[in-house]
Amino acid sequence: MITFENVHKAFGSLEVLKGIDAEIGKGQVVCLIGPSGSGKSTLLRCINGLEQYQRGRICFEGTVVDAASRRIHAIRAQVSMVFQRFNLFPNRTALENVMEGPIYVLKENRKDVRERAMVLLKRVGLADKMNIYPASLSGGQQQRVAIARALAMRPRAILFDEPTSALDPEMVGEVLQAMRTLAEDHMTMLVVTHEIQFAREVADSVLFLDGGCIVERGTAGDVLNHPKHDRTRDFLRRVMHPV
């Protein structure tokens, strides 16, 4: 569904992606792990053209992703994104946030969208927060609204950019739970995360990035429980036992 062929990206003289090759199949949950600055968020943001890569090729269902082309809007409408800092529209209620894309981008009927948005908010456990503005929601609630907003587009895949990193520890569980439900429904998901336990449970495969390269890849069990590379082993030890 999503393929990377020799993808390179640099910010000025700083090379952040140094030839990424990977393939993500339909219905797969792929977790990207690695130290900060390893290029995992950048890789994710190249898929929907929030960043432009300079060499190589990223294809989404056979269409080349090019941030400068008009086609990028169509790709973005099919590949939703959930951000670390939620990025809900502060001047719209939870329900309006969820309805925004389907009404104004997909041009769907307002009444149908409204019903679907209410179902989605119920699904992430926020049926009672529909008319609340983001500022009055907790981080966990905001992120669940953001997940509902992503789902409202009926996406073919969802990109998660460290969805729990900005949350208070006690809010992490509710967001991971919402994501777990999506995985069970066979949503194609790419997740940049530091939640190793979540990756172990939910991911079909794990990519470990370091220094702009994929150092190790494989099933969650292989990479997380029996890492082959020293760098992976070292990283996992630090993440799992910080003290």
């Binding site: 973005r76 099919q78 990025n87 529209f89 502060p90 981008v105 587009m153």
Partner: protein, 218 residues
């Protein structure tokens, strides 16, 4: 004091005629300045160089010229180029042009102050540039822009007194005419000042109310 009031009631009807024109000039000029200012700010944040550069030059140019000179230029020089405007039209256009450049900068600052996360969220659900501006950026920028916008609206109203020098019969002009026939400068210009305050003070109060409503209810 008693003579002030008795004279004031005598002059007031005549001055109100001028006040009406001051209001007209201000309303038209503010509307046009807002539209032009928005246009300048959108051009300047468009990311397209061939649009950004000329707009920037225009804004810098107009901001560097005194309003009075702009008015003279439009009223006295433009006819030589075949653009014949009435004094009222020239006054409105000159005021609007000058203030559109201040407003444009205010709008641009407001647009650029909207969090980049908001832009990314809008893009990530497939919004094009126009839709993103209309649905996400401008509504949020509006809140940021409102206080300085109010300020400029009041400045524009006061600047509108300058149109009297190109023979627009506004409040200031009516005051001058009356003063030159009656020599009652004290009463007349006090009255003119008070009439301006009657416009600017409610404007300030109203705008502060609107701001507060926006701050609370978003």
């Amino acid at each position: 004091m008693a003579t002030f009031f008795s004279h004031a009631t005598e002059y007031l009807p005549f001055l109100l005629g001028g006040l009406w024109l001051t209001i007209l000039v201000t309303v038209f000029a503010l509307a046009l300045a807002t539209v032009l200012g928005l246009l300048w700010s959108l051009l300047r944040t468009s990311g397209v160089r061939v649009l950004e550069m000329p707009t920037r030059v225009l804004v810098e140019f107009v901001r560097g010229i005194p309003l009075l000179v702009i008015l003279f230029y439009i009223y006295f020089v433009a006819p030589e180029a075949g653009i014949d405007l009435t004094a009222f039209e020239a006054g409105v256009f000159g005021l609007a042009l000058a203030h559109s450049c201040y407003l444009g900068e205010t709008f641009r600052a407001g647009i650029e102050a909207v969090d980049t996360g908001q832009l990314e969220a809008a893009k990530s659900i497939g919004m094009g540039r126009f839709m993103m501006m209309r649905r996400v950026v401008l509504p949020q920028a509006f809140k940021i822009i409102l206080p300085p916008y109010t300020n400029d609206a009041v400045l524009l109203l006061k600047d509108s007194s300058l149109v009297s020098v190109i023979s627009v019969a506004d409040l200031t002009m009516h005051g001058k005419m009356l003063a030159s026939t009656t020599f009652d400068n004290m009463t007349i210009f006090t009255l003119v000042a008070l009439l301006y305050l009657c416009l600017t003070i409610p404007m300030n109060v109203l705008m502060r109310k609107v701001e507060r409503a926006f701050a609370e209810g978003r």
